[in-house]
């Protein structure tokens, strides 16, 4: 069986009048269905570029990306992308914000609508359906943005520092929330972050990128000897510190 996602020798450069910048060089990794990969690296190492490539917004200059064994462009991959900020539109209600993707793809069918309703209910937003985004707390906004992404039932979920705009306390609880939602909906996910503890607490494996141009420095599998893993519990697990030190060291070799 083919892996869900396979990157082989992917490279990408940005071209400008002043010259070209090699952002990513020779990136290869595979991702199995149902797993959670975190990508960490120094700032400017091309983490977000990597997500744009996987999502198909950018085309690799070299190498290839395969989705379930087929080239990305032909695979008809359904990939959800959650950006750094929630970008909920203030001129729409919460409900019409979370259904924006369905509206664009003309998928406002009864099944999709009822699945959105169910998610709003489960994740505590159903009483805010007709509210404006500004009436929601930071954590609720992030949950709404995730529901907007999940409404399209993506096979793969890309998270680009989705918690970076939140204050620390909210961040910890939203991190738990989002991890629980992703687990419950049985999604495969890639999280880009520069917060090491966030990466270790959420992911099954952590991909460490070197500084620009980003290369794969090391892929660290993360496993905790506990049942019912949540990010908050992982942070308190004895293994957490060791993973942290290991990845910290890798980052500093690269830097």
């Amino acid at each position: 069986m083919n892996p869900l996602l396979e990157l082989s020798h992917v490279s990408y450069s940005y071209h400008e009048v002043n010259g070209e910048t090699l952002a990513l060089s020779d990136i290869s990794f595979t991702l199995e269905s149902g797993s959670f990969l975190a990508i960490v690296g120094p700032s400017g190492c091309g983490k977000s570029t990597l997500l744009s490539l996987i999502c198909g917004l950018l085309k690799p200059e070299d190498g290839s990306i395969a989705f379930r064994g087929k080239p990305l462009r032909e695979a008809g991959a359904n990939i959800g992308y959650m950006l750094q900020k929630d970008h909920l539109f203030e001129w729409r209600t919460v409900y019409s914000n979370v259904t924006l993707g369905l509206e664009i793809q003309k998928k406002l069918t009864p099944e999709h609508i009822s699945s959105v309703d169910a998610m709003l209910e489960t994740y505590g937003l159903s009483s805010f359906k007709d509210a404006r985004p500004s009436q929601l707390s930071g954590g609720m906004r992030q949950r709404a943005a995730l529901i907007r992404t999940l409404a399209l039932e993506p096979d793969l979920l890309l998270l680009d520092e989705p918690f970076s705009a939140l204050d620390y306390q909210t961040r910890l609880s939203v991190c738990d929330d989002i991890a629980a939602i992703i687990k419950k909906e049985e999604k495969t996910a890639i999280l880009v972050t520069h917060d090491l503890s966030e990466a270790i607490s959420m992911a099954d494996q952590v991909l460490v990128l070197s500084k620009r141009p980003g290369r794969v420095q090391r892929l660290v599998p993360v496993a905790f000897s506990m049942e019912e893993r949540t990010p908050m519990r992982s942070r308190n697990a004895p293994e957490f510190k060791d993973y942290f030190n290991l990845i910290w060291k890798e980052l500093n070799i690269s830097g």
């Binding site: 999502c55 917004l57 959800g80 992308y81 950006l83 750094q84 900020k85 970008h87 539109f89 203030e90 001129w91 924006l100 993707g101 509206e103 664009i104 793809q105 404006r132 907007r148 399209l152």
Partner: protein, 265 residues
């Protein structure tokens, strides 16, 4: 609801008093101005034949109401201004959308728009009269010419300043450029539309009056020119006062639209 605290009540009371004082001061200045003007005319400090006076302006207004001629002139100017205002909005929206859709087009046309925008539009008015004839069409085009280029530039700049991350969001949700336009660019530009309208309504009035100066038999601009030629300065000043009131009412109209639309922004 609970009764507000005493401190809150006194704060509100103070605020009310201050707002009332501001309104009173405004009215006071206006009345003092009218009084000084009237008194200096009556006491022959200024020549009422040239400088007119509030009572002469008022009498002129009453006499033109009684022979109904004023309604024709006011109606003409108002119709022309409103028509050119709506046409400007329609045109500039349409052209700004085209420029946004076709980026190279906007790059190519940019210098032309900038030149046309900075050109003093009154310079065009005599040409328009010759080309289009001395009729309402010309006046409306003159009104449009003052506002339309600036309006295109403002709206287009607003379109291009839309947060690129919001645009990216639409693409990640599987949308195309048309979706970006409909779901992000147009709705997020509503405050810009309102601001352009506020500027445009005044500019259209300016353009229409310029047009009426040189190519019209009716309208307030015509009354001003006619009045100055026959030395009826009462008529000129009355027209100017009416234009002031008209500009104020039109501007307030847009403020109402704004209050209605901007609740959400």
């Amino acid at each position: 609801m609970a009764e507000p605290s005493l401190a809150q009540q006194s704060f509100l009371e103070q605020r009310r008093r201050r707002l009332r004082a501001i309104t009173l001061a405004r009215i006071f200045i206006f009345l003092v101005f009218l009084l000084i003007w009237e008194m200096s005319a009556r006491l022959h400090l200024i020549d009422a034949f040239i400088f007119s006076s509030p009572s002469r302006v008022y009498n002129m207004f009453v006499s033109m109401i009684s022979d109904r001629s004023i309604f024709l002139h006011m109606g003409t100017t108002l119709t022309e201004t409103l028509l050119s205002f709506f046409l400007v909005f329609l045109f500039s929206l349409l052209i700004a959308v085209l420029l946004w859709l076709f980026h190279s087009l906007s790059r190519i046309l940019e210098p032309y728009l900038v030149v046309l925008n900075s050109l003093p539009k009154s310079a065009l008015a005599p040409l328009l009269i010759v080309w289009l004839g001395a009729n309402m069409k010309t006046i409306i085009v003159a009104g449009m010419s003052v506002a339309v280029f600036g309006s295109i530039l403002t709206i287009y700049t607003g379109f291009s300043e839309v947060d690129p991350e919001k645009v990216k969001l639409i693409y990640t949700l599987g949308g195309n450029k048309k979706d970006v336009l409909r779901k992000v660019v147009l709705p997020s530009s509503i405050p810009i539309f309102i601001n352009t309208m506020k500027v445009n309504i005044g500019l259209c009035l300016v353009g229409v009056v310029i047009g009426e100066f040189i190519g019209s038999r009716q309208g307030l601009g015509y009354l001003i020119i006619y009045g100055s030629q026959v030395f009826q300065l009462d008529m000129v000043l009355m027209s100017i006062v009416i234009l002031c009131v008209m500009a104020m009412i039109l501007y307030q109209g847009i403020n109402l639209v704004e209050k209605h639309c901007l609740k959400r922004f």
